[in-house]
Symmetry: C2
Subunit: 293 residues, 2 copies
C-alpha cells in the first residue's frame, strides 16, 4: 500500500465548482498542507476563504506559484494561455501542473507553447463531473466521488508527474482513465458539448417567441430536464465550443442530419418511419444509459 498522499502547497487557479471541490476533497483527506486560491473575482475568492475552500488568497498567479508543489488550472479553457504564460517563469522545477479543462487538444497546445521547458511536468486532465451551478460556493468535497477523471499525458510527460496527479484525483474519490487527447475531444464533443449547445439553443428558441412567458408557463418536467444544463456557465461553455471547434462542428452536423431525417418523415407523414426512429432511440437509451445508472 502506498504511503498517504501529502501535498505541501496546492495552488488552485480558478476557484469555482471544480477547483474548489478539488481543494475541499484534498483538505478533507488531509492530503494537503496549504491551499492558495487565485482568481479574477475578489468576491468569489472572499467566499472561498470564508467557506474554508482555500487558506489564502493571492491575486497574482506569478507570486502564487512560488514554492508550489501542485498547480491546478481550473479556469475556463479560454484563459489557459494567459494563465500559463504568466506562471511559467515562476514555477519551481519540482512543481507539477495539471488542468481541469473539458477539452484537451487545445489545452495541450497551449501548454506546449506557454509552459516551455516545464511542459514535461504538465499533466492534461479532465474530471468528468459538474453541476449546473458555478462559483466557489457551489463547491463540495464529494463532487468527484466515483466520477471519472481522464488524463491524456503526452509522450514527453514525466511518469512521476502523472503519478502525483493520479493520486490526487484518486484521493478525491475519482476513478482514473487514460485516453488519447483527440479521442477524448471527439467523445466529449458528442456526449457533453453538443448537448449543451442543444439545451441553450432550445431555450433561446422559446425565449424568442412573442409569448415566451406563457410558453414557459406551460412547460413541464420534460422541458425542464431537457434544458437543465442551459443553466451552466456561458463563459465556460463559449470557451469549450471554440476550443473543441472541429469535433463539435462535426457532431453538430451529424445531429442536424438526424433532425433532417425526422423532419422528412414528419413532412411526408410517414408514421412508420418516425415510430421506428423513436423506437431505435428509446432502445439505445435503455441499453446504454438506463442500465448503466
Amino acid at each position: 500500500m502506498p504511503a498517504r498522499l501529502k501535498i505541501g502547497k496546492l495552488v488552485v487557479i480558478g476557484v469555482g465548482l471544480i477547483g474548489g471541490s478539488f481543494a475541499l476533497a484534498l483538505k478533507r483527506a488531509r492530503a494537503v498542507r496549504q491551499v492558495v486560491g487565485v482568481g479574477r473575482t475578489r468576491r468569489n475568492l472572499a467566499a472561498a476563504l470564508r467557506l474554508k475552500v482555500i487558506d489564502e488568497v493571492q491575486h497574482d498567479p506569478a507570486r502564487a506559484v512560488q514554492d508550489a508543489d501542485l498547480v491546478l488550472l481550473a479556469t475556463p479553457v479560454g484563459q489557459m494561455a494567459a494563465v500559463m504564460a504568466s506562471i511559467a517563469p515562476h514555477l519551481p522545477p519540482r512543481a507539477v501542473v495539471t488542468d481541469a479543462g473539458s477539452t484537451k487538444r487545445d489545452v495541450i497546445a497551449c501548454a506546449r507553447r506557454f509552459l516551455g521547458g516545464h511542459f514535461p511536468r504538465f499533466v492534461p486532465a479532465h474530471p468528468v463531473a459538474g453541476t449546473e451551478n458555478s462559483g466557489a460556493s457551489a463547491a463540495f468535497a464529494e463532487l468527484f466521488r466515483n466520477r471519472c477523471v481522464i488524463v491524456t499525458p503526452q509522450r514527453d510527460t514525466t511518469a512521476s508527474a502523472v503519478k502525483l496527479v493520479r493520486r490526487a484525483w484518486e484521493t478525491c474519490g475519482a476513478q482514473m482513465m487514460r485516453l488519447d487527447a483527440q479521442e477524448h475531444d471527439a467523445i466529449f464533443a458528442a456526449v457533453s458539448h453538443l448537448p449543451h449547445v442543444i439545451a441553450y439553443a432550445l431555450v433561446s428558441t422559446l425565449a424568442r417567441r412573442r409569448n415566451a412567458g406563457q410558453l414557459f408557463g406551460f412547460s413541464g418536467g420534460g422541458l425542464r430536464d431537457t434544458v437543465r444544463i442551459a443553466g451552466s456557465s456561458p463563459e465556460m461553455w463559449a470557451d469549450i465550443c471554440l476550443a473543441n471547434r472541429d469535433a463539435l462542428l462535426a457532431a453538430l452536423q451529424e445531429y442536424e442530419d438526424e433532425l433532417e431525417r425526422v423532419r422528412a418523415a414528419i413532412e411526408s407523414g410517414d408514421g412508420a418511419v418516425l415510430k421506428r426512429m423513436f423506437e431505435q432511440a428509446r432502445s439505445a437509451r435503455e441499453k446504454w444509459m438506463v442500465k448503466k445508472s
Copy 2:
C-alpha cells in the same frame, strides 16, 4: 359548494399512464361507481384489472360504452378516428366523451367527423402531465395533482358536458384552463413536441456512431437529463408529431435557425457572440423556469 361528483359508469379507452391514473384518482375520491377498461393488449388490461385500476375488461369498445356516463379516450392520437367511429353508434345520448390527447385540432376534426350528432357532448382536453413510463402499471392516482388540464371546447360544445369533465379533472387534483385549440397546438409544439423530437434525435445521433457504447459510457448527468424523455412511447410520439405537423414543423424550423446562429458563431470563432447567446438562454431559463418551480 357543489355536491360531490358521482359518475356512474366510466369507460377508459386506452388504459395507460394517463387513462389509468385518471381512473385511479376518481376511484380514490369515490367519485365513480364502475370503471370499464378497453384496450388492444390483453396483458396490459389484465395488469390494470389486477392493480384495481379498472373493475372490468371489455375488448369491444362498442359494447363497453353502453350505459356509459363518461368516456375517456386515452389512446395515442393516431387511433382516435377508429375508436370514435366504432363507439359513435352505441353511445347513450347522455354520455359525455372526452379525450386526453396532446394535440387538439386534429382530435376535434376527428370528433366532428366520426362522433356525428354526439359532437356537442365531446369535450376536447389535454392533461399536461406524464412521465417517461407507459402502460397501466405506470399509473398512479397523484399524477394530476396540481397539474394543468387544458380544455378547448368548441362553440357547439354543451356547457353541461364541459362542466362534468372539468369537475372530474378537478377531482383528480388538476387545475383547469381553457384555450383556443390552435393556440394550444402552437404552444405544445414548442414546449413539448419539439423537446421530444430533440431528445430522440440526440440519442440517435450518438447511437449511430461506431463507438456508441464507449460514448454513452462517458455520459454524465447532463446528457442523461437532456434525453430522459427519449424514453417516452414511440408510437404515441410519432402520432403526436403527425397530428401536430404544421405547428411542430414551424417550431423545428425556428430551432434549426437558432442552431445555425450558434454554428456560425462557432465557425467564425466569435466567443463574444456565443457567450451572449448562452447568457440570454441562461437568463431566460432562470426567469421563466427556475423561479416557477
